[in-house]
Amino acid sequence: MSGLRRLYRGARLIDPDSGRDMVGDVIVVDDRIAAIGANISAEDLGPDVEVIDVTGMCLAPGLVDMRVQLREPGAEHIESIESGSRAAAAGGVTTIVALPNTEPPVDDVSVVEFVARRAREVRLAKVHTYAAATKGMHGKELTEIGLLAANGAVGFTDGVKAIADALVMRRVLAYARTFDQLVIQHPEEPSLGSAGEVTEGEIATRLGLAGITPAAEVMMVERDLRLVAITGARYHVAHVSTEAAIDAIREAKASGLPVTCDTAPPYFALNETAIGDYRTFAKVSPPLRSESDRQAVVAGLADGTIDAIASDHAPWDQDSKRLPFSSASCGIVGLETLLPLSLELVHNRRMSLIDVLQRLTVAPARILGLNVGRLAAGAPADFVVFDPQAKYRIDTDRLRSKSKNAPFDGRPVEGRVELTVVDGRTIFERVAA
């Protein structure tokens, strides 16, 4: 190894996998972390070492975002693999996993290879993809789960659609188990879900919007948990948002079922009041919940029932959002606000910094079986350097994402990404404004 040597000096090193939280240095040689610890002498490394002073900053594993919509192929004017990767880099996200709901959908080996090729060309964050669990995400016929997995798909899901038919879901789980593959479910009983656009309750009623009962979530989760008990497949619930579903998952974990789940910042940083006067930027699926459900999400994150935090990045252009509420698309861009919004859990004293970072790094990496999300000698040099003290307001106009649909514009936050490194390459460095 002759190549690049860099010493990142003086940061607070936080590695949730090992529990390390100390001031120290990181040495990167080429694409790997060569050494990590306190008081590493630059002289030991020879003459060609570039020293980067990151004193006062936090240095943590790069974020692993397990739920991102990239819109490429098919809707590159809304987001592309390149623009999404740039947004990831700016957000300190070094690994993203894309949903298969593109056009054409990722339900064929050739599309998995396309995403991999585009990611290689773009060469920013590491981009993985899920593949559809059913052909065309129609919820009827199994996809080639074995071949798709062999060609790089890291899990199987029908994206923003739940697999409605219990028999199909059972076969998806059984077939995926044959190849030890993860199945990810959008937890919403679809016939109830299609009945409305916001959570059923007083706010929906005042606004005259059709409501979805929050029970739609736990109904789907509980059905699936029975099927998981039968099949033994690895099952992951995406963006959990209700107390009842979190309770069901907590119980299932206690009984030993192979179940995991994630949530996303809108579900712990907002509640249904964010809809205000029909703000379509706050329209998401599952819909924003009541304050008590929001608090249950925070509690679920704190006690570990919720394994991971994903951005649930769902870009939409103006044409998709500047519409009457019920016609508008569901989704919020999240790659660039993932870290500061998650850090609110620390500032609000609900979780420790290392625990929040655990949910953002090694926890999703483990669920996905990816060798990332750790700061350790020999591990890939994927990390984020952030200033934990920096106070600023979110400015959605400045997002790198092609789409700016976020209800967080002007929100004061604390904690800012300064530097993002993937495989030893600096893919983002903040330029002082």
């Binding site: 016929e141 076969r171 077939y175």
Partner: protein, 318 residues
């Protein structure tokens, strides 16, 4: 005549048969194999007897095999394709049975798409009934012919390891073979994706595998099952391409088995789905054509045994 071990009126399934019953059929069939290879293939053992092939489900090879077997033993053989006659007219199975019974057949050979239907029919007729396949339940003459094929090639059944691969969930052939091979002291494995395995199949006396490399390791016999086309486009497996890649028998996967392992398939084969042509047509290792030959001999043996238990007066009408 009483020296024969097989003392059942019908042949409805392998489950419940003793090793002596099975050996009795196989020993008798061995003799018919030789006879079938001669110019003179005819016996008059069943002269005057009437055999009705009553197939409620399409079949060519099994029906023909029974027809040849019956004719070589001198019986009058009538083929009824019930699938296209009375069932369409709305007649119930029991009415069909009563109608047939009134014609004084001696042996009914019945295939039916529903599990248990052949047994139901056997309870309503006075003649002997041979199950030629009922739903996903049993296909006893197939298991017997498979056993005869293996025994003639390997000299034994006990102690062998047999891997049954593919659509075990829907397969009557698999179930009959599991019973028979277990009864005869063979070790049985099933290898399939989880969507094609019935629940609790391990309680039937098999080891379960989901990977061909593991499942075929050191086996003596690789028995492939047919995957029906309506099951290979997403409902149970996603595609024929994927199925063949992971579960189809080709030269690479066959390498995991013993170097002298033999290949079987009950037919009709889907080449390129569950089996590749190179292995299917390997004359040293594929027993697929021998299975067809043994089928006639085994069915002759079964018919002889049915005929003997009928006595000389024919079945009475109740």
């Amino acid at each position: 005549m009483d020296s024969y071990a097989y003392r059942h009126r019908h042949l409805l399934g392998i489950e419940g048969l003793t090793p002596e019953d099975i050996s009795c059929v196989l020993d008798l069939a061995d003799g018919y194999v030789d006879m079938n290879r001669q110019a003179e293939k005819k016996k008059s053992l069943l002269r005057g007897r009437t055999l009705i092939n009553c197939f409620f489900e399409n079949s060519t090879r099994t029906r023909t095999s029974f027809e040849v077997a019956g004719k070589r033993l001198g019986a009058d053989v009538i083929n009824m394709a019930v699938a296209v006659s009375s069932m369409r007219k709305g007649e119930t199975l029991i009415d069909t049975a009563m109608t047939l019974n009134a014609m004084h057949p001696d042996v009914l050979v019945v295939r039916h798409p529903e599990s248990g239907a052949v047994q139901l029919l056997s309870e309503k007729v006075d003649c002997a009934v041979i199950n030629a396949g009922d739903g996903s339940h049993e296909h006893p003459t197939q298991a017997l012919l498979d056993a005869l094929t293996i025994r003639r090639r390997k000299g034994k059944l006990g102690g062998l390891t047999v891997a049954i691969c593919g659509d075990v969930l829907h397969s009557r052939v698999a179930r009959s073979n599991i019973w028979l091979l277990n009864a005869m002291g063979a070790r049985v494995r099933v290898v399939a994706p989880r969507t094609l395995l019935p629940a609790a199949v391990e309680h039937l006396g098999v080891e379960v595998f989901h990977d061909m490399a593991e499942g075929l390791a050191d086996v003596d016999i690789v028995m492939m099952l047919r995957l029906q086309s309506e099951r290979m486009h997403g409902s149970f497996v996603p595609s024929t391409r994927e199925y063949f890649h992971f579960f189809g028998l080709d030269e690479d996967k066959l390498k995991f088995a013993r170097s002298d392992a033999l290949i079987m398939h009950p037919g009709p084969m889907n080449r390129g789905v569950e089996i590749g042509s190179t292995v299917a047509d390997d004359i040293d290792r594929s027993l697929i054509r021998q299975q067809v030959e043994m089928g006639v001999a085994v069915r002759m043996a079964c018919l002889e045994l049915m005929g003997r238990s009928l006595g000389n007066n024919g079945p009475p009408i109740k």
